[in-house]
Protein backbone atom coordinates (compact mmCIF):
# COMPACT_ATOMS: atom_id res chain seq x y z
CA UNK A 1 0.00 0.00 0.00
CA UNK A 2 2.86 2.36 0.87
CA UNK A 3 6.29 1.82 -0.64
CA UNK A 4 9.13 4.11 0.35
CA UNK A 5 12.30 3.68 -1.67
CA UNK A 6 15.69 5.21 -0.92
CA UNK A 7 14.30 8.51 0.40
CA UNK A 8 16.76 11.25 1.31
CA UNK A 9 16.00 14.67 2.71
CA UNK A 10 18.21 17.34 4.16
CA UNK A 11 17.98 20.90 5.38
CA UNK A 12 21.24 22.37 4.14
CA UNK A 13 23.98 20.12 5.44
CA UNK A 14 21.72 18.53 8.04
CA UNK A 15 20.52 15.15 6.81
CA UNK A 16 17.05 14.57 8.31
CA UNK A 17 16.20 11.39 6.39
CA UNK A 18 18.82 9.14 4.93
CA UNK A 19 18.28 6.12 2.67
CA UNK A 20 14.83 5.30 3.96
CA UNK A 21 13.35 2.07 2.60
CA UNK A 22 10.07 0.82 3.97
CA UNK A 23 7.12 -1.11 2.65
CA UNK A 24 3.79 -1.09 4.41
CA UNK A 25 1.32 -3.70 3.13
CA UNK A 26 -2.43 -3.14 3.08
CA UNK A 27 -4.29 -3.43 6.41
CA UNK A 28 -1.07 -3.32 8.37
CA UNK A 29 -0.32 -0.95 11.20
CA UNK A 30 3.21 0.36 11.52
CA UNK A 31 4.44 2.40 14.46
CA UNK A 32 7.32 4.81 14.02
CA UNK A 33 9.19 5.18 17.28
CA UNK A 34 12.51 6.57 18.35
CA UNK A 35 14.17 9.49 20.13
CA UNK A 36 13.12 13.00 19.23
CA UNK A 37 14.95 14.38 16.23
CA UNK A 38 15.07 10.91 14.68
CA UNK A 39 13.02 12.06 11.68
CA UNK A 40 9.79 10.18 12.50
CA UNK A 41 7.51 13.16 12.00
CA UNK A 42 9.41 14.26 8.91
CA UNK A 43 9.05 10.78 7.42
CA UNK A 44 5.32 10.51 8.05
CA UNK A 45 4.84 14.01 6.62
CA UNK A 46 6.60 13.05 3.39
CA UNK A 47 4.02 10.30 2.82
CA UNK A 48 1.36 12.87 1.93
CA UNK A 49 3.84 15.45 0.61
CA UNK A 50 3.57 17.89 3.52
CA UNK A 51 7.36 17.71 3.29
CA UNK A 52 9.35 17.61 0.08
CA UNK A 53 12.02 15.00 -0.50
CA UNK A 54 15.22 15.50 -2.45
CA UNK A 55 15.79 11.94 -3.49
CA UNK A 56 13.92 8.67 -3.70
CA UNK A 57 10.36 7.70 -4.27
CA UNK A 58 7.20 7.22 -2.24
CA UNK A 59 4.33 5.33 -3.79
CA UNK A 60 0.93 5.20 -2.11
CA UNK A 61 -1.66 2.86 -3.63
CA UNK A 62 0.22 2.86 -6.93
CA UNK A 63 0.55 6.67 -7.11
CA UNK A 64 3.96 8.32 -6.90
CA UNK A 65 3.53 11.02 -4.24
CA UNK A 66 6.39 13.32 -5.19
CA UNK A 67 5.95 13.08 -8.94
CA UNK A 68 5.28 16.51 -10.47
CA UNK A 69 2.46 15.04 -12.55
CA UNK A 70 0.61 13.58 -9.60
CA UNK A 71 -2.60 15.34 -8.62
CA UNK A 72 -1.57 15.93 -5.05
CA UNK A 73 -5.03 17.03 -3.91
CA UNK A 74 -6.53 13.82 -5.24
CA UNK A 75 -3.87 11.77 -3.50
CA UNK A 76 -4.21 13.60 -0.20
CA UNK A 77 -7.94 13.01 -0.14
CA UNK A 78 -7.11 9.30 -0.01
CA UNK A 79 -4.59 9.69 2.80
CA UNK A 80 -5.98 10.83 6.14
CA UNK A 81 -3.61 12.80 8.35
CA UNK A 82 -4.02 13.45 12.06
CA UNK A 83 -1.77 16.08 13.63
CA UNK A 84 -0.26 16.35 17.06
CA UNK A 85 -1.96 19.72 17.61
CA UNK A 86 -5.27 18.66 16.02
CA UNK A 87 -5.29 21.69 13.70
CA UNK A 88 -9.06 21.86 13.67
CA UNK A 89 -10.55 24.87 11.92
CA UNK A 90 -11.47 27.10 14.89
CA UNK A 91 -14.09 29.12 13.02
CA UNK A 92 -16.11 26.06 12.04
CA UNK A 93 -18.24 23.67 14.08
CA UNK A 94 -17.27 20.02 14.53
CA UNK A 95 -19.80 19.13 11.87
CA UNK A 96 -18.33 21.64 9.41
CA UNK A 97 -14.77 20.59 10.24
CA UNK A 98 -15.69 17.05 9.25
CA UNK A 99 -17.97 17.74 6.28
CA UNK A 100 -16.10 20.57 4.48
CA UNK A 101 -13.65 18.46 2.51
CA UNK A 102 -16.28 15.98 1.30
CA UNK A 103 -18.50 18.91 0.26
CA UNK A 104 -15.89 21.17 -1.32
CA UNK A 105 -13.35 18.65 -2.59
CA UNK A 106 -15.33 15.51 -3.35
CA UNK A 107 -18.47 17.48 -4.23
CA UNK A 108 -20.61 15.20 -2.08
CA UNK A 109 -24.11 16.69 -1.68
CA UNK A 110 -24.20 18.73 1.54
CA UNK A 111 -26.99 16.69 3.16
CA UNK A 112 -25.24 13.43 2.49
CA UNK A 113 -21.85 14.72 3.70
CA UNK A 114 -23.36 16.10 6.89
CA UNK A 115 -25.27 12.91 7.61
CA UNK A 116 -22.04 10.98 7.23
CA UNK A 117 -20.21 13.50 9.44
CA UNK A 118 -22.81 13.08 12.20
CA UNK A 119 -22.48 9.32 11.87
CA UNK A 120 -18.68 9.48 12.17
CA UNK A 121 -18.77 11.89 15.10
CA UNK A 122 -21.35 9.74 16.85
CA UNK A 123 -19.27 6.60 16.36
CA UNK A 124 -16.38 8.43 18.03
CA UNK A 125 -18.57 9.36 21.00
CA UNK A 126 -19.16 12.95 19.93
CA UNK A 127 -22.82 12.73 19.00
CA UNK A 128 -23.68 15.56 21.38
CA UNK A 129 -20.81 17.82 20.21
CA UNK A 130 -21.77 18.06 16.56
CA UNK A 131 -22.48 21.78 16.69
CA UNK A 132 -19.69 22.73 19.08
CA UNK A 133 -16.72 24.82 18.01
CA UNK A 134 -13.22 23.43 18.61
CA UNK A 135 -12.64 26.05 21.32
CA UNK A 136 -15.51 24.55 23.31
CA UNK A 137 -14.05 21.03 23.23
CA UNK A 138 -11.39 19.32 25.33
CA UNK A 139 -8.15 18.21 23.73
CA UNK A 140 -9.27 14.60 23.53
CA UNK A 141 -12.57 15.60 21.95
CA UNK A 142 -10.77 17.84 19.46
CA UNK A 143 -8.46 15.05 18.43
CA UNK A 144 -11.42 12.73 17.90
CA UNK A 145 -13.05 15.37 15.68
CA UNK A 146 -9.76 15.52 13.77
CA UNK A 147 -9.87 11.74 13.31
CA UNK A 148 -13.46 12.01 12.07
CA UNK A 149 -12.38 14.78 9.68
CA UNK A 150 -9.72 12.52 8.18
CA UNK A 151 -12.08 9.55 7.97
CA UNK A 152 -14.78 11.57 6.24
CA UNK A 153 -12.77 11.43 3.02
CA UNK A 154 -12.85 7.61 3.11
CA UNK A 155 -9.07 7.36 3.03
CA UNK A 156 -7.21 4.20 2.13
CA UNK A 157 -4.43 5.06 4.54
CA UNK A 158 -4.40 6.91 7.86
CA UNK A 159 -1.32 8.71 9.13
CA UNK A 160 -1.06 9.77 12.78
CA UNK A 161 1.70 12.16 13.80
CA UNK A 162 2.01 11.87 17.59
CA UNK A 163 -1.77 11.99 18.04
CA UNK A 164 -1.65 11.92 21.85
CA UNK A 165 1.44 14.00 22.60
CA UNK A 166 -0.44 17.26 23.12
CA UNK A 167 -3.09 15.70 25.36
CA UNK A 168 -3.56 15.70 29.10
CA UNK A 169 -2.93 12.18 30.46
CA UNK A 170 -6.58 11.49 31.25
CA UNK A 171 -7.56 12.13 27.64
CA UNK A 172 -5.01 9.89 26.00
CA UNK A 173 -7.14 6.79 26.43
CA UNK A 174 -10.16 8.11 24.57
CA UNK A 175 -8.04 8.95 21.54
CA UNK A 176 -6.15 5.66 21.64
CA UNK A 177 -9.48 3.85 21.88
CA UNK A 178 -10.63 5.64 18.74
CA UNK A 179 -7.48 4.54 16.91
CA UNK A 180 -7.87 0.99 18.25
CA UNK A 181 -11.39 0.87 16.90
CA UNK A 182 -10.11 2.00 13.54
CA UNK A 183 -7.40 -0.64 13.63
CA UNK A 184 -10.04 -3.32 13.98
CA UNK A 185 -11.59 -2.24 10.67
CA UNK A 186 -8.47 -3.22 8.74
CA UNK A 187 -7.36 0.32 7.90
CA UNK A 188 -3.75 0.70 6.79
CA UNK A 189 -2.11 2.97 9.34
CA UNK A 190 1.18 4.59 10.20
CA UNK A 191 1.47 6.01 13.71
CA UNK A 192 4.27 8.12 15.12
CA UNK A 193 3.94 7.60 18.85
CA UNK A 194 5.60 7.65 22.22
CA UNK A 195 2.93 5.36 23.69
CA UNK A 196 4.97 2.17 23.83
CA UNK A 197 2.22 0.01 25.34
CA UNK A 198 -0.15 1.12 22.63
CA UNK A 199 2.38 0.49 19.86
CA UNK A 200 3.05 -2.95 21.25
CA UNK A 201 -0.63 -3.77 21.49
CA UNK A 202 -2.00 -2.74 18.10
CA UNK A 203 0.90 -2.58 15.66
CA UNK A 204 2.05 -5.25 13.26
CA UNK A 205 5.52 -3.82 12.94
CA UNK A 206 7.66 -1.43 14.93
CA UNK A 207 9.90 0.84 12.89
CA UNK A 208 12.66 2.17 15.13
CA UNK A 209 14.35 5.31 13.85
CA UNK A 210 17.37 7.28 15.02
CA UNK A 211 19.38 10.07 13.40
CA UNK A 212 17.29 10.12 10.24
CA UNK A 213 17.75 6.40 9.59
CA UNK A 214 15.63 3.32 10.05
CA UNK A 215 17.64 1.28 12.52
CA UNK A 216 15.36 -1.67 13.02
CA UNK A 217 12.04 -3.02 11.76
CA UNK A 218 10.54 -5.84 13.79
CA UNK A 219 7.27 -7.20 15.10
CA UNK A 220 6.47 -5.62 18.48
CA UNK A 221 7.08 -8.68 20.63
CA UNK A 222 10.50 -9.13 19.14
CA UNK A 223 11.44 -5.48 19.27
CA UNK A 224 10.33 -4.93 22.84
CA UNK A 225 11.82 -8.13 24.21
CA UNK A 226 14.95 -8.61 22.08
CA UNK A 227 15.93 -5.47 20.23
CA UNK A 228 18.74 -6.23 17.80
CA UNK A 229 20.43 -2.83 17.63
CA UNK A 230 22.34 -1.05 20.37
CA UNK A 231 20.43 2.13 19.66
CA UNK A 232 17.20 0.19 20.10
CA UNK A 233 18.32 -1.34 23.40
CA UNK A 234 19.48 2.01 24.68
CA UNK A 235 16.19 3.68 23.68
CA UNK A 236 14.04 0.99 25.30
CA UNK A 237 16.09 1.20 28.48
CA UNK A 238 15.37 4.89 28.70
CA UNK A 239 11.66 4.81 27.91
CA UNK A 240 10.66 1.59 29.67
CA UNK A 241 12.65 1.91 32.89
CA UNK A 242 12.00 5.43 34.02
Amino acid sequence: MIKITNVNKSYGSHQVLSNIDLEIPESQIFALIGPSGAGKSTLIRTINALEEIQEGQIVVDGISVHDKNTNINQLRSEVGFVFQNFNLYPHLTALQNVSYSPIYVKKTPKKEAEARAVELLTSLGLGNKVHSYPGQLSGGQQQRVAIARALAMDPKVMLFDEPTSALDPEMIKEVLDAIRKLASTGMTMVVVTHEMGFAREICNQIVFMADGKIVEVAPPEQFFTQPQSDRGKDFLNKVLNH
Partner: protein, 219 residues
Amino acid sequence: MDYSMDWSVIPQNMESILEGLWLTLQISALALLISIPIGIFAGLCRVSRNRFVSFLATSYIEIIRGVPLLVLLLWIYFVLNKFMHLGSYWSAILGLAFFSGSFIAEIVRAGIESVPRGQMEAARSAGMSYATAMRLIILPQAFRKVLPPMASQFIILIKDSSLVSIISVADLTLVGKNIVGNTFRSLEVWSFIAILYFLMTFIISQLIRFLEKKYKVAE
Protein backbone atom coordinates in the same frame (compact mmCIF):
# COMPACT_ATOMS: atom_id res chain seq x y z
CA MET B 1 -11.82 87.74 22.70
CA ASP B 2 -14.82 89.52 21.38
CA TYR B 3 -16.60 87.08 19.17
CA SER B 4 -20.34 86.70 19.00
CA MET B 5 -21.39 83.43 17.61
CA ASP B 6 -23.99 83.23 14.90
CA TRP B 7 -25.02 79.70 14.06
CA SER B 8 -27.55 80.86 11.47
CA VAL B 9 -24.77 80.48 8.93
CA ILE B 10 -25.31 76.72 9.10
CA PRO B 11 -29.02 76.53 8.14
CA GLN B 12 -28.51 79.31 5.62
CA ASN B 13 -25.92 77.20 3.80
CA MET B 14 -27.46 73.82 4.57
CA GLU B 15 -28.07 73.01 0.96
CA SER B 16 -24.44 73.29 -0.10
CA ILE B 17 -23.25 71.60 3.09
CA LEU B 18 -25.50 68.62 2.33
CA GLU B 19 -24.23 68.54 -1.24
CA GLY B 20 -20.65 68.51 0.03
CA LEU B 21 -21.52 65.84 2.56
CA TRP B 22 -23.16 63.72 -0.12
CA LEU B 23 -20.07 64.02 -2.34
CA THR B 24 -17.76 63.10 0.54
CA LEU B 25 -19.94 60.05 1.27
CA GLN B 26 -19.92 59.02 -2.40
CA ILE B 27 -16.18 59.39 -2.78
CA SER B 28 -15.40 57.63 0.49
CA ALA B 29 -17.84 54.80 -0.14
CA LEU B 30 -16.70 54.18 -3.71
CA ALA B 31 -13.02 54.45 -2.77
CA LEU B 32 -13.63 52.03 0.09
CA LEU B 33 -15.50 49.55 -2.11
CA ILE B 34 -12.69 49.65 -4.67
CA SER B 35 -9.87 49.58 -2.13
CA ILE B 36 -11.07 46.35 -0.47
CA PRO B 37 -10.68 44.10 -3.54
CA ILE B 38 -7.42 45.90 -4.42
CA GLY B 39 -6.12 45.33 -0.89
CA ILE B 40 -7.20 41.68 -0.70
CA PHE B 41 -5.75 40.96 -4.13
CA ALA B 42 -2.45 42.72 -3.40
CA GLY B 43 -2.27 41.09 0.05
CA LEU B 44 -2.79 37.63 -1.46
CA CYS B 45 -0.14 38.33 -4.10
CA ARG B 46 2.22 39.50 -1.37
CA VAL B 47 2.09 36.10 0.37
CA SER B 48 2.27 34.20 -2.93
CA ARG B 49 5.11 31.71 -3.27
CA ASN B 50 5.63 33.01 -6.80
CA ARG B 51 8.46 35.50 -6.31
CA PHE B 52 7.53 37.66 -9.30
CA VAL B 53 3.92 38.05 -8.19
CA SER B 54 5.07 38.81 -4.66
CA PHE B 55 7.60 41.36 -5.97
CA LEU B 56 4.95 43.19 -7.99
CA ALA B 57 2.62 43.40 -5.00
CA THR B 58 5.43 44.56 -2.72
CA SER B 59 6.42 47.25 -5.21
CA TYR B 60 2.87 48.55 -5.44
CA ILE B 61 2.52 48.63 -1.67
CA GLU B 62 5.88 50.27 -0.99
CA ILE B 63 5.59 52.90 -3.71
CA ILE B 64 2.01 53.99 -3.05
CA ARG B 65 2.41 53.84 0.70
CA GLY B 66 5.57 55.90 0.50
CA VAL B 67 4.04 58.85 -1.37
CA PRO B 68 1.92 61.40 0.51
CA LEU B 69 -1.75 61.12 -0.46
CA LEU B 70 -1.82 64.80 -1.33
CA VAL B 71 1.03 64.33 -3.82
CA LEU B 72 -0.57 61.17 -5.18
CA LEU B 73 -3.86 63.01 -5.79
CA LEU B 74 -2.05 65.89 -7.49
CA TRP B 75 -0.05 63.44 -9.61
CA ILE B 76 -3.14 61.53 -10.74
CA TYR B 77 -5.05 64.72 -11.43
CA PHE B 78 -2.32 66.64 -13.25
CA VAL B 79 -0.19 63.87 -14.77
CA LEU B 80 -2.27 60.75 -15.25
CA ASN B 81 -5.20 62.83 -16.49
CA LYS B 82 -3.16 63.87 -19.50
CA PHE B 83 -3.15 60.24 -20.67
CA MET B 84 -6.58 59.08 -19.57
CA HIS B 85 -9.51 61.34 -18.92
CA LEU B 86 -10.52 60.60 -15.39
CA GLY B 87 -11.77 64.00 -14.32
CA SER B 88 -11.48 65.25 -10.78
CA TYR B 89 -14.23 62.98 -9.42
CA TRP B 90 -12.64 59.70 -10.52
CA SER B 91 -9.12 60.98 -9.89
CA ALA B 92 -10.15 61.49 -6.29
CA ILE B 93 -11.81 58.09 -5.95
CA LEU B 94 -9.01 56.15 -7.61
CA GLY B 95 -6.31 58.05 -5.73
CA LEU B 96 -7.97 57.28 -2.41
CA ALA B 97 -8.73 53.68 -3.40
CA PHE B 98 -5.18 52.80 -4.45
CA PHE B 99 -3.69 54.64 -1.49
CA SER B 100 -5.96 52.90 0.99
CA GLY B 101 -5.56 49.62 -0.91
CA SER B 102 -1.83 49.57 -0.18
CA PHE B 103 -2.49 49.78 3.54
CA ILE B 104 -5.29 47.21 3.39
CA ALA B 105 -2.92 44.87 1.51
CA GLU B 106 -0.52 44.96 4.45
CA ILE B 107 -3.37 44.38 6.90
CA VAL B 108 -4.55 41.41 4.82
CA ARG B 109 -1.01 39.99 4.64
CA ALA B 110 -0.58 40.32 8.41
CA GLY B 111 -3.98 38.67 8.89
CA ILE B 112 -3.10 35.72 6.65
CA GLU B 113 0.26 35.29 8.33
CA SER B 114 -1.33 35.37 11.77
CA VAL B 115 -3.25 32.17 10.97
CA PRO B 116 -1.13 29.26 12.24
CA ARG B 117 0.67 27.27 9.53
CA GLY B 118 -1.03 24.10 10.71
CA GLN B 119 -4.34 25.39 9.36
CA MET B 120 -3.06 25.41 5.78
CA GLU B 121 -1.41 22.03 6.34
CA ALA B 122 -4.61 20.54 7.72
CA ALA B 123 -6.69 21.89 4.86
CA ARG B 124 -4.20 20.71 2.22
CA SER B 125 -3.96 17.31 3.95
CA ALA B 126 -7.71 17.01 3.68
CA GLY B 127 -7.42 17.35 -0.09
CA MET B 128 -8.20 21.06 -0.52
CA SER B 129 -6.32 23.02 -3.18
CA TYR B 130 -4.34 26.12 -2.11
CA ALA B 131 -7.10 28.38 -3.42
CA THR B 132 -9.91 26.44 -1.71
CA ALA B 133 -7.98 26.34 1.57
CA MET B 134 -7.41 30.11 1.36
CA ARG B 135 -11.06 30.80 0.67
CA LEU B 136 -12.65 28.43 3.21
CA ILE B 137 -10.08 28.13 5.97
CA ILE B 138 -7.43 30.87 5.99
CA LEU B 139 -9.24 34.03 4.85
CA PRO B 140 -12.29 33.59 7.13
CA GLN B 141 -9.93 33.34 10.12
CA ALA B 142 -7.78 36.22 8.88
CA PHE B 143 -10.95 38.29 8.34
CA ARG B 144 -11.85 38.09 12.03
CA LYS B 145 -8.38 39.15 13.07
CA VAL B 146 -8.14 42.12 10.73
CA LEU B 147 -11.47 43.74 11.58
CA PRO B 148 -10.03 46.18 14.17
CA PRO B 149 -7.15 47.46 11.97
CA MET B 150 -9.56 47.55 9.01
CA ALA B 151 -11.87 49.81 11.00
CA SER B 152 -8.98 52.22 11.58
CA GLN B 153 -8.11 52.13 7.90
CA PHE B 154 -11.71 52.93 6.86
CA ILE B 155 -11.82 55.81 9.31
CA ILE B 156 -8.55 57.15 7.93
CA LEU B 157 -9.97 56.85 4.42
CA ILE B 158 -12.99 58.97 5.26
CA LYS B 159 -10.84 61.59 6.93
CA ASP B 160 -8.30 61.55 4.11
CA SER B 161 -11.08 62.16 1.63
CA SER B 162 -10.98 65.79 2.83
CA LEU B 163 -7.73 66.13 0.84
CA VAL B 164 -9.54 65.74 -2.46
CA SER B 165 -10.61 69.37 -2.15
CA ILE B 166 -7.11 70.17 -3.47
CA ILE B 167 -8.08 68.86 -6.91
CA SER B 168 -11.27 70.93 -6.85
CA VAL B 169 -13.72 68.24 -5.84
CA ALA B 170 -16.49 70.09 -4.02
CA ASP B 171 -16.53 67.77 -1.02
CA LEU B 172 -17.53 68.71 2.51
CA THR B 173 -14.18 70.36 3.21
CA LEU B 174 -14.15 72.48 0.06
CA VAL B 175 -17.76 73.53 0.70
CA GLY B 176 -16.74 74.54 4.21
CA LYS B 177 -13.82 76.55 2.87
CA ASN B 178 -16.11 78.36 0.45
CA ILE B 179 -18.71 79.17 3.09
CA VAL B 180 -16.03 80.47 5.45
CA GLY B 181 -14.64 82.53 2.57
CA ASN B 182 -18.01 84.16 2.03
CA THR B 183 -19.19 84.57 5.62
CA PHE B 184 -15.98 84.60 7.75
CA ARG B 185 -17.83 82.35 10.25
CA SER B 186 -14.94 79.92 10.66
CA LEU B 187 -15.74 78.81 14.23
CA GLU B 188 -19.31 77.82 13.43
CA VAL B 189 -18.62 76.31 10.04
CA TRP B 190 -15.52 74.29 10.90
CA SER B 191 -17.03 73.07 14.18
CA PHE B 192 -20.12 71.86 12.38
CA ILE B 193 -18.07 70.19 9.66
CA ALA B 194 -15.85 68.52 12.24
CA ILE B 195 -18.98 67.07 13.85
CA LEU B 196 -20.19 65.76 10.50
CA TYR B 197 -16.88 63.99 9.87
CA PHE B 198 -16.93 62.58 13.38
CA LEU B 199 -20.45 61.21 12.88
CA MET B 200 -19.43 59.45 9.68
CA THR B 201 -16.38 57.79 11.22
CA PHE B 202 -18.27 56.96 14.41
CA ILE B 203 -20.93 55.10 12.47
CA ILE B 204 -18.22 53.10 10.67
CA SER B 205 -16.45 52.15 13.89
CA GLN B 206 -19.73 51.06 15.50
CA LEU B 207 -20.55 48.99 12.43
CA ILE B 208 -17.21 47.19 12.59
CA ARG B 209 -17.58 46.65 16.32
CA PHE B 210 -20.91 44.98 15.59
CA LEU B 211 -19.23 42.74 13.00
CA GLU B 212 -16.48 41.86 15.47
CA LYS B 213 -19.05 40.71 18.02
CA LYS B 214 -21.04 38.83 15.44
CA TYR B 215 -18.08 36.81 14.17
CA LYS B 216 -16.36 36.30 17.46
CA VAL B 217 -15.46 32.64 17.95
CA ALA B 218 -14.67 30.86 21.16
CA GLU B 219 -11.00 30.01 20.97
